[in-house]
Structures are given as C-alpha cells and as structure tokens.
C-alpha cells in the first residue's frame, strides 16, 4: 500500500474527500451570507437554521407526499426562498435604519425559533434520507473509491457557486445589486426598485441555504441541530475570507474544508478546532481577512 508521511494514501484521499464535501457546504453557506451581507448589511444568523429547514422540507416532502430527491432539489430552494422573502418583508425591512447588530440579534432569535420548533416535533435524533437511486453506488477511480453521491455534491456545489458568482458579476440584475451595495439611494433615484431588490436578495440567500440543506440531506442525517453546529464554523470561514468578495467566500470555504480534512488525518483531536485556529492566525497576520477590503 502506498504511504505518505506514514499514512495510507487511501485514508488520506478519503479524508480529503470528506474535507472537500464539508468545504462545499462551507462555500455555499458563506456565499449566501456574503450575498446577504453585501446588500442588506445583516449577518444572517438564521442561515444555519434555513439550511436545516431545507434538509427537513426535503425529508418531509419525501415522507408525507412521496416527492423524491430530484423534484425536491427545485421545490426546496423555492419554499425556503419564499419563506426568506416573507421574513425580509415582515421583519428585516424594519431594521435597516438601525445598528446592524439588531439584524444579527433578530436572525439569532429566528434561528432559535425554527430550531426549537423542529426539536419539539422531531426530537434531536437524526433521520436518514436515502441517496437517490441514480447516484447510488460508487465509482472506482483506480486510486480510490468515490461514492457517486459525494462526487455529485462537489460538482453541484461548484455549479451553484460559479452560477451565483456569474449572476452577480455578469448579469444586469447583478449589476443593479452591486450598484445598490455601493449606493442604494442613487440606484433608487435611477428608478430601480431597491426594496424589492433587498427582498429578492434575502430570498436568494435563503434559497442557497435551502439548496445546501437538501444536498446535505443524504450525506448527513437530517436533524434539527445540523444547522447550528455548522453556522458557527461558517462564521469563522467568513471572518477568514472577508465578506467583501463573493469569490473569496467560495475559495475560503473549500480551503478550510480541505484543511479540516487534512487535520483529521494527521491530528484528529484538533480537527474541529482547526478552522478557528486558522481564523485566529489570519486575524493576527491579516486582520482584514484573506480577501477582505475593509477591516
């Protein structure tokens, strides 16, 4: 068996794959956070709860309505996105004039309520969600065995991240969005409906979280706690990457996922600390974050 630093190469590649999967979710979630923060100046603490909501809606669609994975892949982001838009209209839109801290506190409360409701009805144990038949099984790549679904998650998250980046950087809607980030009053004066833009942006961020949730459902167990465990790590990712750049959020997400995977191979005890340690080091050396423009 081939060894690298005394570690079998299969184990190394296996953990790197796990890291890449985790990184895919970090990337999708920190991307959503960055999109929302860019325009709304709100740190969406509920992002983890929306991710959990996505996974749970997918699970409930399957169990109660018999709607499978592929339709759910479209339906879930729609439902979570609409929910997000309702939240923005009813509550967040009243908080824009205030200190951004209130947005954080409100979404924190929202996260507690969403999580609390699901915990109340479904307990804390995880519910399994079967891998869709089309992606069941695995492929032997010669040097390692790749479960098909995991390969699909990495590909799908790359498509989602690049798609969102193109939407924001290359389309007309994206240019309105970027302009409104710089100067909302001026964009409004040009006849763009900025409040609608804000609602759509939060909806988009929420939909991204929901999509990440349904993608995650067959990988992890569907559980009410899956979001809150993740969101704090994603916050650290966002601090490392800096929220100034969409691309930065994506790249940092994958990088930290891989770093976590590597740590699991060489020093497993520290694997859930490593993201935070990297954050501390980045804060010491480059306080604005790796891709940040403003401190």
């Amino acid at each position: 068996m081939t060894m690298i630093f005394g570690i079998p190469i299969q184990a190394l590649l296996g953990q790197l794959l796990v890291g890449l999967i985790n990184g895919s979710f970090y990337a999708m979630l920190s991307l959503g956070l960055a999109v929302i923060f860019g325009l709304l100046r709100i740190i969406n603490f509920a992002h983890g709860a929306l991710y959990m909501l996505g996974a749970f809606i997918g699970y409930l669609l399957l169990v109660h309505l018999g709607i499978g994975y592929w339709p759910a892949l479209v339906l879930v982001p729609l439902i979570v996105g609409l929910f997000g838009m309702a939240v923005e209209r009813l509550a967040l839109s009243h908080l824009y004039r205030l200190d951004p801290l209130y947005g954080l506190l409100f979404t924190f409360g929202l996260a507690l309520v969403i999580e609390g409701v699901f915990r109340y009805y479904y307990g804390v144990s995880g519910n399994p969600y079967a891998v869709p038949t089309l992606l069941a099984g695995g492929t032997n790549l010669g040097f390692m065995f790749l479960p098909n679904y995991r390969g699909w998650v990495v590909a799908a998250s790359l498509i989602v991240c690049i798609g969102t980046w193109l939407l924001i950087e290359k389309t007309r809607l994206g240019s309105y969005l970027r302009a409104a980030t710089e100067n909302p009053e001026l964009v409004q004066a040009f006849g763009v409906n900025v409040p609608l833009l804000l609602t759509l942006t939060y909806g988009l961020g929420a939909a991204l979280a929901g999509l990440a949730g349904i993608l995650a459902a067959p990988v992890y167990q569907v559980s009410p706690l899956m979001g809150s465990d993740l969101i704090i790590v994603v916050f650290a990712v966002v601090v490392v990457g800096g929220m100034g750049s969409i691309l930065g959020a994506i790249v940092t997400g994958y990088m930290l996922g891989l770093a976590e995977g590597l740590t699991k191979v060489f020093y497993p005890e520290a694997s859930n600390l490593v993201v935070f340690v990297i954050m501390a080091i980045v804060l010491l050396l480059r306080p604005a974050g790796l891709f940040g423009r403003d401190a």
Partner: protein, 321 residues
C-alpha cells in the same frame, strides 16, 4: 426651557429613579431568601451579575460579544477544579476563576478587537466555540458529565457555606461587589471614554485616544466579572458543566440584557430575573424554552429595543418633561 437644562433635568431624574430602585432592590434581596426558594434567588443573582458584566461591554462600549459563555463557563470550570482537585478554599477558587476568565478575555479580546462591528461579534462567537470544543475534549472538564460534587467548603476557613443562608448572603455580597464595580467603571473618566467610543469611535480616535486599548481593557473587565459570576455559580450549584460554555449561554446573556434594557444599570438585573424565572416556569410546562427565548428575542428587536427598564425610564422622563 433650553435643550441643555432639559437634558440635565432628565439626567437628574433618571439618577433619582435609579437610586430609588437600587435601595428598593437591596432591601428586597435581603428579604428574598426568607420568602422565595434561596437556591433560585442565588441562580438569579449569578446570572444578573453575568448580565451586568456583559452590559458593561454592550451597553457602555457598544461591543456585542457573542462569546461571553466562554468566560462564565470557563471560570466555573477553573473554580470547580481548584476546589475539587486541589482542595482550595472557595474564596481562592473564585478568585482563580475570575483571573482565568480575565486572562481568556485578554487573549480573545486581543484577537477580536482587530475587527469592528459585526465581525467582532462573529469572532467572539467563533473563539468561544473553539473553547467549547476544547472543553469537550480536555480531560480536566470530565467531558459530558462535567465536574460534579464540588464541595462548598468554608469561607475564609470559618463560615460554612454548606448552610444555605450563609451561602446566600455570600452570593449577595459577591453580586453587590460586582455590580458596584461595574457602576464605578462606567461612572469613571475611563467609563466616559468607553461611552465616547460607543457613540463615535472615529471621533474618539481623532481626539487622541488609543481606542483599541480602551476596548481591550473593557473587554477584560467584562470577562473577569462574567468569570466572577460563573465561578460563584459553580460553588452554589457544586458543579461545572458544558452547558455554561455553549453558544446558547452566550445568547441567553444577550437576551437578559436586551430584555431588561441595554445600557442601563438595573436593566440586566431585571432581565436576568425574568429570563431565569421564565425558564424555571417553562421547565415544568413542557413548552420548549428555545422557542420562547427566540420569540422574545424577535419581539424585543422589532418593537421593544429599549427593554423594560429603558422603556420605564423613557416613560418616566417624558412624563416629567
């Protein structure tokens, strides 16, 4: 009446109101253990001190820390360990817990003040979570069980804290000393500079204050006082567990402060009393605490940002004005 005198009048009225409330409060707290279950009041006092320490940072410096559970729960661990493993007397163990929390505050604060606003909150949250993972794995915290069966011991070798009333009046003394410290800090010239940072950080910088150092000092003081509360709680309940270092605990202290009134002396005490009371009530009703907490959060942020005490002040003052 000119704007300035009106303002002075209002400030004076606010001070009078606060003094009256403080005197009333102390009398009530001395009488409380004879009427209410003393352990419950001690729990309230520990959380009230925790919230006051937190408010020193949020209310008077404008920094929202999302990681104060690390200081509260960390100090509880240090204190419980010193008593149980080394046989330290309670007062020394509590001081150790406080010092440990201050040291953690120094490290976390040093990292966190490198970024401002919302990033500050995220960094404190992430660092506290890191401490949580550390506590899950470190052998001295005894993992999921926590440090159990911590003896209360004898205060200064004389007063038996095993006697509930002795314990109660010790906790009350710690609480009053802690709150007095907060009051002294915010009403000192140092506290005025903290407030100026809260109001306008750039102006404070342009006036020549090294804002970073003041923020760090405030952070360390707040962490130390939160630690004092946590260490005392460990002696009262005779255990230290993971619950006290979770992010939910950091959220809880924010809620206490928000509900009572950010930036008021009395608000966090009222908020802590209400939240602890509510949790006790809900614990027997079957209604999930997280949902209630979350709803209160949302309602407070949307329509009730001044909190209960802040609202009372506003009503009282507008009645006078």
């Amino acid at each position: 009446m000119s704007e300035a005198t009106l303002h002075a009048e209002r400030a004076a009225a606010s001070v009078r109101l606060e003094r009256a409330l403080v005197v009333l409060g102390i009398v009530a707290l001395i009488a409380a253990p004879f009427v209410i279950y003393p352990i419950f009041v001690m729990k309230m006092l520990c959380f009230a001190l925790f919230a006051c320490a937190f408010n020193l940072l949020l209310g008077y410096t404008g920094l929202l820390s999302f990681g104060h559970a690390a200081f509260f729960g960390g100090a509880a661990y240090f204190c419980a360990y010193a008593v149980k493993a080394w046989g330290w007397p309670p007062e020394a163990a509590i001081l150790l817990g406080t010092a440990g929390a201050a040291l953690m505050g120094l490290v976390m604060g040093f990292l966190a003040i490198r970024r401002q606003g919302i990033y500050f909150s995220m960094i404190t949250l992430a660092l506290a979570q890191m401490f949580y993972f550390f506590c899950v794995q470190a052998p001295f915290t005894e993992g999921e069980d926590g440090i159990q069966g911590v003896p209360r011991g004898h205060l200064f070798g004389v007063v038996d804290l095993g006697v509930t009333m002795n314990m109660y009046f010790f906790v009350l003394a710690v609480f009053l000393i802690g709150v007095f410290a907060v009051w002294r800090i915010i009403n000192s010239p140092f506290g005025m500079i903290l407030r100026s940072i809260r109001e306008n950080e750039n102006r404070a910088i342009s006036l020549g204050y090294s804002v970073g150092r003041y923020k760090l000092a405030a952070f360390v003081m707040s962490a130390a006082l939160a630690g004092l509360a946590g260490a005392t709680k460990a002696i009262v309940f005779q255990f230290a567990t993971l619950t006290d270092v979770t992010w939910q605990m950091s959220g809880e202290v924010i809620l206490m402060t928000l509900l009572g009134g950010i930036g008021t002396m009395v608000g966090p005490v009222v908020g802590a009393g209400l939240v602890v009371g509510l949790e006790n009530t809900l614990a027997t009703s079957g209604f999930p605490v997280t949902i209630a907490t979350g709803l209160i959060f949302m309602i407070c942020v949307l329509i009730f940002r001044r909190g209960i005490v802040g609202e009372v002040y506003a009503r009282w003052l507008s009645g006078k004005g």
